[in-house]
Symmetry: C2
Amino acid sequence: MKNNFRSGCPIASTLDIIGDKWSLLILRDMLFHHKTTFKEFSSSDEQIAPGILSSRLKLLISYELITKQKLEHNKKENIYLLTEKAIELSSILIDISIWGDKHLRELNKIDDIEGLDLERSVIISTVKQRYYSMVQNIKIIK
Amino acid sequence: MKNNFRSGCPIASTLDIIGDKWSLLILRDMLFHHKTTFKEFSSSDEQIAPGILSSRLKLLISYELITKQKLEHNKKENIYLLTEKAIELSSILIDISIWGDKHLRELNKIDDIEGLDLERSVIISTVKQRYYSMVQNIKIIK
DNA sequence: ACAATTACTACTAAAACAGTAGTAATAAAT
DNA sequence: ATTTATTACTACTGTTTTAGTAGTAATTGT
């Protein structure tokens, strides 16, 4: 797909991949809410349009942040799963969550997130562990 | 300014403020490269257009992430400085930098950043300390 | 066999971004 | 003192991205 990076800066380059309006929210839904299907991504509070969701999933696949697979005994649904590369974005997502929780309450009604008061490293390892467990329990076709 | 948040999610809300194509790069230039003027922001590798820079600076001011001030003995230049709220985004910017440095080398030629191999907490406190020192040495009009 | 669900694609409208040119105020050079 | 250069923008046009809705094919459930 498109590979036009604005510069060699690691921050700019990362933003060129996941710095759009939706990618990190899709990854959030996968990592924290264990969503796996197009339908589930479509049903989040933020109401992503199907065309945008479709194009973003394709981009995330092309960057190897997610994979698209099939379940056994189900030819209709596609299952999207995070790669290790994307799971390593956990710390960024959690830092963003902590920052928003702390600083945006005067601008917007912010949802309370359970466990966000725990130590950062504990949150990160718990989130990752839960995701790995979820993946282990689903039967995908190899 | 515009205050339409997509949801109450702290991640979505944070992205509604700084999740555009340029805000984090402006904050990066301020925090890491100690840039303070419109001219300096215009001259970064990524080539932001003046109209976009202008509108983003206004938004960042409205969210109280930066302030606009004047230097003593200089009526022309405007000096933009980070607020504490924005300085607390340091950890996010550093995590993004570390992730990009680690994962994007096969997609793009990534610049080597000095000191990025140090421990995360050390990087964060060093960056903050350097920024505070820089601010202390400039004479702004109160 | 029929209805519902899933995963999209297609289309049009609206918004954001890109690129260039131009202007007013101040500062520097002659 | 006058001209030139710099800074910080605004204004404008064109392109790209995003939003929103409608529709379709394949599969699954009843």
